[in-house]
Each structure stands twice: as structure tokens, then as C-alpha cells.
Symmetry: C2
Subunit: 335 residues, 2 copies
């Protein structure tokens, strides 16, 4: 389907579900971006769950968002259980504004929801010539090191920095072996997942995405990944005022209340300490890129380059929508 048609379709669906025109647009852009950068697990595949949560009154389509200025660098946002994209969009814009003014910004968002890809927000910041950390938590998927029950989310860590080119450095990775969205999408499409990324609910390795979803996902590098997930839960949940410690609700299965996910954005000017940041970062990237490569590797990519190339290619094509997701969308559009 043509990109503009998909965009309009998403806006129409959100309008029908009670969102404002502006909010519908913000959501549509984030979802389309996920499709175009090649992360469909964070794209159209989630549309039905967002709408179901609105219908079940655990996402608020008409939020009264409260922005509290703590200092000229620090802003606190209560997203009033808006769909995650909205709180994140307002939050990242305040972070950019504060950092442009004072050099550094801390912005926390609470009472929010799943906001899509962290890298989407990191990229926005880097394109304004600022550096960003974006943290957000997620529903239980990973067992803390030593535990046999899930508690941490796949909690992504995201860092973005300008490069002086059109393609910023955007590192965005979940601390799980693969991201949960990929497992959900595999389940939806009836595909298998790789070995070594998840266990079933009895603790046995599995390649069945449905068994993985009720079992547990494995973190990267054992206690190191577990510690990173814990750090991100503290940053996004404990410090922001959002849910934490396993209390973030699953967006697909748990309609007993809002998710109350938290986001923390730390944004700053890359030239706080040096005058020639752009020269320095270009030199840094060049040195890595010109290293001798292992067999079969033609080019060393910096984080963000791959997604940017996919975005370019996909922007010239139609968006492929799998049949079962297409029929979900058609149903949603009928209201």
C-alpha cells in the first residue's frame, strides 16, 4: 500500500478512536517511521492493540497533559495515560528546547505507554545537533539474574549523537537477545524464533514464539544484561514516578489499567566541553570505518546507518502489510 495511504489510514483510525487530529498525526508518523526503518514489530502490528486499549479505557484518547517546569533544564510531564507516542513527543520536544537554551536537559514522562522505537526520538534530537539518552521501561519479559520469573522489560538503551552528516549516530538496542516485538510478530505470522533467545514457562529453550511469550526472554550476557535492564527500570520508572519493578502492564493482554510506562530523556549539547565536536566525531567514525574487515563484511556501519539506508529504500516503495495485519486494520477502520 502507498505510504501516504497508510499514513492517512492510521490517522483516520485514531480519529475514529477519539484522538485529536494533531495526536493522530503524531502517532501515525511514529508508526510509519517504524515500518520504513524496517522495524515492523513496532509499526502497524501494534495498531490493533493501541485501539483495543483505547476501547477498554486504559489509554486515554483525550489526555490532559500536565507539563511542570522544575528548572530551566528540568521538566516533568504527566501524560495522563495518553498513547505513548504523545507523551514521548512532548517530552522530547521539551528536552530539545531546554538543552538548546541551557546546554543540558532532563525530562521525565510518567503515566505514558509504549512509545515505539527509542531511536525515533534519539534521531530527532541528534538532527537538532544535540546528544540524547532515551530510556523507557516495558512489561515483564526478562527474569532478573538468579530469578526464575520475569520482571524486567526488554528495556531498550538508546544513545544518539550528531555526526555532521544527514545520518546521525543512533544506537538503540533492547537488552534482550531479540526484541519482544519481533517475537510477537513471529507469533502473528506463524514463524519460528531463533534458538537461544527465549525459554518456555517451564524454563526449557524454545523456538515457538507463543511459548516464548508466556515463558521468558534471555538477556544479553547474563548478569550484565540483567543489570542494564535493572538500571533502565530505575531510570524510567523509579525516578520518573511511573510504574516499575514488574508493574508495567502488558499492552496486549492486560486491560486492568493503564500501563503507566515512564520515559527519561537526557539531552545535551555535544560542544559543552570542546569547540570542534563535529571534526572529532567525523574523525572517530572514519577511524572505525577504515579498519580491516572480517571475511564477508564489505563495510562497517555505525549504529543508525543501517536503519537510515533501509528508510531511504523503503521510502520509495509501498509498505508491505501482511494479510492478517491488513484485515485487523480494515476492521479498525470500520470502527
Amino acid at each position: 500500500m502507498k505510504i501516504n495511504l497508510v499514513k492517512k489510514l492510521i490517522i483516520d483510525i485514531f480519529l475514529k478512536h477519539g484522538l485529536s487530529k494533531n495526536h493522530s498525526k503524531v502517532c501515525s508518523e511514529a508508526i510509519i517511521n517504524a515500518e520504513l526503518v524496517g522495524a515492523p514489530s513496532h509499526g502497524l502490528a501494534r495498531l490493533s492493540s493501541y485501539c483495543k486499549r483505547i476501547k477498554k479505557k486504559v489509554i486515554n484518547p483525550k489526555p490532559k497533559i500536565i507539563v511542570k517546569k522544575i528548572s530551566s533544564s528540568v521538566t516533568s510531564i504527566d501524560a495522563d495515560n495518553a498513547i505513548g507516542f504523545i507523551g514521548a513527543d512532548i517530552g522530547i520536544n521539551y528536552a530539545i528546547k531546554n538543552a538548546k537554551k541551557t546546554g543540558i536537559a532532563f525530562v521525565a514522562v510518567k503515566n505514558s505507554g509504549h512509545y515505539g522505537l527509542s531511536g525515533y526520538y534519539g534521531e530527532k534530537v541528534a538532527k537538532k545537533n544535540l546528544v540524547a539518552f532515551c530510556f523507557t521501561n516495558a512489561p515483564p519479559a526478562i527474569a532478573p539474574y538468579g530469578a526464575k520469573k520475569t520482571l524486567f522489560g526488554t528495556n531498550p538503551i538508546c544513545f544518539a549523537a550528531p555526526t555532521g552528516s544527514k545520518v546521525p549516530f543512533v544506537f538503540d538496542t533492547s537488552i534482550s537477545m531479540i526484541n519482544r516485538g519481533k517475537i510477537r510478530r513471529a507469533a502473528k505470522l506463524g514463524k519460528k524464533i531463533p534458538t537461544g533467545v527465549a525459554l518456555d514457562k517451564y524454563g526449557n529453550p524454545t523456538t515457538d514464539p507463543k511459548k516464548a511469550l508466556v515463558g521468558l526472554q534471555l538477556p544479553i550476557a547474563g548478569f550484565k544484561g540483567s543489570g542494564l535492564a535493572w538500571m533502565i527500570d530505575i531510570l524510567s520508572g523509579v525516578i520518573t514516578g511511573a510504574n516499575h519493578g514488574g508493574k508495567v502492564k502488558d499492552p496486549f493482554d492486560d486491560f486492568s489499567g493503564p500501563q503507566n510506562i515512564g520515559h527519561l530523556f537526557i539531552v545535551f549539547k555535544p560542544n559543552l566541553f570542546v569547540k570542534n565536536y563535529l571534526i572529532r566525531i567525523k574523525e572517530n567514525l572514519k577511524r572505525v570505518k577504515k579498519l580491516p574487515k572480517i571475511k564477508g563484511i564489505k563495510r562497517i556501519y555505525y549504529p543508525g546507518e543501517n536503519k537510515s539506508e533501509r528508510f531511504k529504500i523503503n521510502s520509495k516503495k509501498n509498505i508491505y502489510i501482511p494479510q492478517n495485519i491488513l484485515s485487523e486494520i480494515n476492521k479498525l477502520n470500520k470502527g
Copy 2:
């Protein structure tokens, strides 16, 4: 050897190598701490290399450290090629001071050197009821994803947060499978290293620490660990004004000039956004700790607890110094 004797011995050695009394004390405390928390790879095993660098005039024993106030939250420090502990100590103290005053602090240190354990500085911050990120880079040890030559250091990521108890949450991990200090120490003691953590210079897996040191170390989780190392190199090197992109010199083998390592400390108040941070973090830790445990695990530790317990136990004992390190120390003490 008794802890106080070791402490005095280290101070004497640094005094003999031209450091001031105060700087000798700061170095001694950091080195003793590494021994007591059970990280001897960052302790006495490094003493001879620090002294050798002073003798070779690539560590400056009498640095003129320049502290530049950028704003009430932001401080830039030129450590004038002091031994790493000194720039880090001054930097972390400014970070604490700025954050106490304004809520948030960014402190960069350049022209510094190896500063020991990141967690040592993180812990200092958390004990002042503040949250910390500590970033530092290191000499080439890890090949970027896709490259067959090392460039990134084992670049640790460190996050610390107060818990309301005497034991703060201190997550401090290198992005390599094991830290380089452990490999160096194994080489010194003639021990083997585990499989799967390093390759020799021909790209073959090795358990020989000497072959690993001239080969390459493996990052955690492939491109994820490689991306984390790159992020930390940008934060500690590109942004601070220090060396980066593979230019940090090896402290043991390369005396062609100072290391010019960089450190970046981001410190902030945990109650920027919430009034009840301590209640929230306690609840968070409790929820994780009471999860059902896997077989053989009696207790789930949060990051920092393990080291704190070892510190308590080791503080009541003598410090064990392997024979070859003891003879190094005796030589150093003779000047």
C-alpha cells in the same frame, strides 16, 4: 599484609615517585578499595605500570590541573596527564557539588589516565544521595563489529543510585566478556582464561592470556556490545576532548606519550521528579529480591551488593599479595 601497612607502602611509593602527599593518598585509597572489593586486577597489580609511566614521563606526578566552570551545572577539567585517580577524584567531587547545588551536573575530564574501577566513583556519588553515570574509555582491546582489528577499549558502563541503605546500587560492567585487568592478572600469575572471551592475533579462540592480550577480546552480545563500546568512546573521548577512536595508549606497553583518557560524569538528584524516591527504590529492590529463585541460588543480589559484602569481609583480613607482585612492590619502594 595488614591493610594499613599496604596503604602506607603505596603512599610511600607514590611519594618516592614525586606525587604530593595528598595525591599519593588519593591513589592509595582507590587501589586499596579495588583490593578490598575483590578486583585485584585494578589494584596492586597495576602499581608498577603507574610508576613506570611516571619514570618515562608519560604520567605527570606534579600536574597543574585546570578546572573550568562552564555553568553552575557544567565543569570541564584538564588533568594535565596526572595519574587517572587524581583527575577522576577532582571530577567526581565537582559533579557532586554541582548536582547538590543545581540538581544536575555534567563534568568532563581530559588528559587523564586509567582511573581504576568506575564503581568506586559511582559509589561515592550514591553515598551522597545522588545518581551517577560514570563513563571512561580505555586502550584498544575489542574489535568493532565487522572489523578484524581492535579499536575500542573494554569501556565500562557504570550507573549508581542510592538505596536508602548503606549499600548503594552500583552497576559497573565492562562491555567485554571479561575485563582486561583479569586477563593481565592471569598472565602475570600464569593462569588460563575461560573459553569464549578472547581470540589470538590470528582470530582463533584462545585460553592463553598472553595470546589474548596481543589478540582481541570479544564484546558482549556481538553488535550490541560493540555499539555500547562505541557510545562510551564518544561520551568519554569525543565529547570530553580526550583521545578516542583507538588513540588511547596502552598503559603497560606504550610509553610514547600520555594516555589522554577521558572521563564523563553525569550526576543528578534522584528526587528531581518524585518526592518519595527512597520509598520507590526500596520497593523496587524488594520486588526483585523476593522473586522465586532458580535452583542453587539462595539470594538475588542487586548490583553493588556483592562487592560491598566482599569489602566488609576483606576489611577484616590482611591483603593477600601474590609473590611476583610483592617483589615488584618491594623494588618500587626501593625507588
